[in-house]
């Protein structure tokens, strides 16, 4: 079982694909010309919506990135083209590179933690007895289900300077300087809380799916490995891991994409502060573009961010599509 969007497990598309190919043979031949057009007509509304509501904003973003568009031009509805000036400013400035590096590090740390902890918890789920497993699953599902904005608000309260429960616990554990610590006051502490939040809310997806994947490993494989004299570790590396590898690969990329654009958590926890020190690329584009009303600049940053995302997405889709071909 892999994480793929194209084929949910409830619909065995492979089976029906071959079935459709076999039995669908004579039917299309009998169909008229109108029948040949039918699939395109059925897809028309979806494609039109995609072009209009997704394609157009993307194009608009590109167009805006070549314009000098600040407060004044915005109010006057003026269009001032300024060529690649925005890109020159963004790419030669220090900020963009610093934020990009920060985004990459932030994503790397988060995804590494999510995948490591998620995998371990997934394997733990497979090992637990039924009652404990259901208990832990309930906990995971609750964390997974929490809406992002609500979760962020709750974390603000957990880490509140006054009366926050985390500071109280740290104080009781003997770390008295933390009794009135303001977690939003520094870059690292803000990132710490945001990372904890993202890891907390992302682990369930990885752990539960990984557990589901382990249940599909045929038991005979382990028996065979045991007959060959493999110990626990060896049967893990030779049976479990090869089975889970495609799943882990796809999930890692999905998490990279999600964490890279984690706008809501970063923005609503501390607004990219203090001193704009925790801005990651999407937040940077927003603060520069909408906050500081340099819309053209913001659009240029957005285009560059989208290009990075596009690279990541293309790679992810390649993995998923290749897996599907291998399975078929």
């Amino acid at each position: 079982m892999t994480v793929q969007t194209e084929r949910p497990p409830s619909g065995p598309a492979d089976v029906s694909k071959t079935a459709g190919g076999a039995s669908g043979g004579p039917a299309p031949r009998a169909a008229s010309r109108a029948g040949a057009l039918a699939p395109y007509l059925l897809l028309l509304p979806a494609v039109a919506a995609t072009v209009l509501l997704l394609g157009w904003p993307l194009l608009k973003d590109l167009l805006l990135s070549f314009q000098n568009l600040n407060m004044a031009q915005l109010i006057q509805h003026a269009t001032e083209w300024n060529g690649i000036e925005n890109y020159r400013q963004v790419l030669t400035g220090e900020d963009f590179w610093r934020v990009t590096l920060r985004s990459i590090l932030f994503t790397a740390v988060n995804v590494a933690l999510i995948m490591a902890a998620g995998t371990l918890i997934g394997l733990l789920l497979a090992r637990l007895g039924k009652r404990m497993r259901v208990t832990l699953l309930i906990g995971l599902v609750l964390a997974w289900a929490m809406p992002v904005v609500a979760a962020t608000t709750v974390y603000k309260w957990l880490f509140a300077q006054r009366f926050g429960v985390v500071n109280w616990v740290l104080d009781k554990l003997g770390w008295h300087s933390m009794a009135d610590y303001s977690w939003t006051s520094s870059q690292m502490s803000t990132f710490f809380v945001v990372t904890l939040l993202i890891v907390w809310m992302s682990i369930p997806f990885v752990a539960i799916n990984l557990y589901a994947a382990t249940t599909t490993i045929p038991g005979e494989l382990y028996e065979a490995a045991a007959l060959d004299g493999a110990g626990a570790w060896r049967s893990f590396t030779t049976v479990t891991m090869p089975f889970l590898r495609p799943f882990l690969y796809a999930t890692t990329f999905l998490e990279i994409i999600w964490v890279f654009k984690a706008f809501v958590q970063v923005f609503s926890f501390n607004g990219g502060g203090p001193d704009r020190l925790t801005e990651i690329l999407p937040v940077y584009a927003y603060v520069e573009g909408v906050g500081n009303q340099h819309y053209g600049m913001g659009a240029a940053i957005a285009v560059l961010t989208i290009l990075i995302m596009l690279g990541l997405t293309a790679y992810y889709l390649r993995i998923v599509l290749k897996q599907e071909e291998d399975e078929a």
Partner: protein
Amino acid sequence: MKRSLFGRLWPNVTAVLLFIGFVFPVYWMFATAFKPTGDIISETPVWFPTDVTFDHFKTAVDADHFWTMVANSLIVTVLAVVFSLVVALLGAFALARMRFKGRRGFIIGFMCAQMAPWEVMIIAIYMIVRDASMLNSLVPLTLFYTMMILPFTILTLRGFVAAVPKELEESAMVDGCTRPQAFRLVILPLLAPGLMSTSMFGFITAWNEFPLVLVVNKEAGAQTLPLWLSSFQTVFGDDWGATMAASSLFAVPILILFVFLQRKAVSGLTAGAVKG
């Protein structure tokens, strides 16, 4: 295989600790919401709410524009889900049941669309909406939310349509149904569970959406609940009781839907939809 006491104990102990770690923030949200203010701002945390109060919920519900935003959220979310279901059903049927040139291309296209970085496109969308003089309106929100959940809806429904045995449809057509009739009378009823769960995931996505409404609708009368919640703390200062009550009110519908959907969620249906 026999395991030592330690070998049997540590997985369970770890599981209990993890359970506490994952549940605690959710628990603390509800616990704080029901505690009297005195217990919230106490030097030693009150771990279990002993005298339960509903005052904080009253404060949250009485906050300005709360009911407007509830209505806005519901209108936008429900309409987006319905529109995307209708549009997606047509497309999903074509992708699952028909052979045509470019079919694979369409599927890959929708997969790309599903990964669209909406968070970074908000400046462009703001300009488009402004140029259309539609700021502070629910119409653009509905349209863009429809688009946000459309690719996932198409791809998921395609799986559900494919799972309906083709023979059922064919035998209906042998019995004299036209293809649209066969679709309506045979496939649609069998699709009901699929439509339900797909629409719930769409609902969750639209209900939670934050960046777009943040930029496009500045007037309180046209905002949705995520904005209400995120600005709540600014307005109410450190009234954590009311803030947690607000969070609870916002989260409860989703928590209920999600627990209901757990089975589907576990089977990996969610890729890219719930968090994205």
